[in-house]
């Protein structure tokens, strides 16, 4: 896998979208294609981007928070 391909996987895993869980957690499919370093970078990228998303949201909510609220509100 090239560095660019790895970076695109990291970009996907850093997003908030996750398949809806039923009885167990549903990981992002691309997470399984990353090694430990790539997974850590995906976590760090999400940690870096979420405050920006929250700053741009009228209610101060990131896409993670929005995804959780969508599950709560059905």
């Amino acid at each position: 896998m090239t560095a660019e391909e790895t970076d695109l996987l990291i970009e996907q895993v850093a997003a908030a979208h996750r398949p809806r869980a039923t009885d167990e957690l549903r990981y992002h499919p691309a997470w399984h294609d990353l090694d430990a370093a790539g997974r850590t970078r995906a976590y760090e990228r999400a940690r870096a981007v979420r405050p920006l998303e929250a700053a741009l949201d009228p209610d101060g909510l990131s896409t993670t928070a929005r995804a959780v609220l969508a599950r709560i509100r059905g």
Binding site: W31, Y43, A48, A55, G60, T64, I72
Partner: protein, 187 residues
Amino acid sequence: MIDLDIHLAAIVAGDADAFARWLAGAEQPVRLSLASFAAVVDAEAVLQEALLRVWQVAPRFVADGGANGLLRLAVRIARNLAVSELRRTRTRPVEPRDLEDHHAVRPTPSDPMLRAAIVECRDKLPAKPREAFDARTGGGGEKDDLALATALGMRLNTFLQNFARARKLLAECLHKRGILVDQELGA
């Protein structure tokens, strides 16, 4: 220090809007508590599930009198869930530090000046990167990147490249304004 438990009574009463206000300050510290698990579990999936469980158990939550009780509970739920994932997937053995309490629990304050700078930098993004950035940000995590890309008439890789460019341009713009940004934002 901010005490997010000001929202607790309304959350216990089932007020999802109050839970949203709690989430605005609680998400980042709970995410940070999962840092040591990031290489072995999908921290985003664990985080979202943990926050959902906080909402589900909140009506039975009994405050201990300390500040940010619900946030401290959220961190415990998230870390316990990560440990359960470790045991389920057997990615690596559970280590003693995984089971220790995580004490660095501090809500995220809002910063109006930082928010204004981010908005100005976002408004300067070129069209395509901004489309990708706005699509994911405005999508609220409900749709996957392929669906977002298709809606914009982009291929998935093009969408991801545009999003990455937006992220890097935002990091550069904020840096020029003297704002310290996370290294990974511009990577």
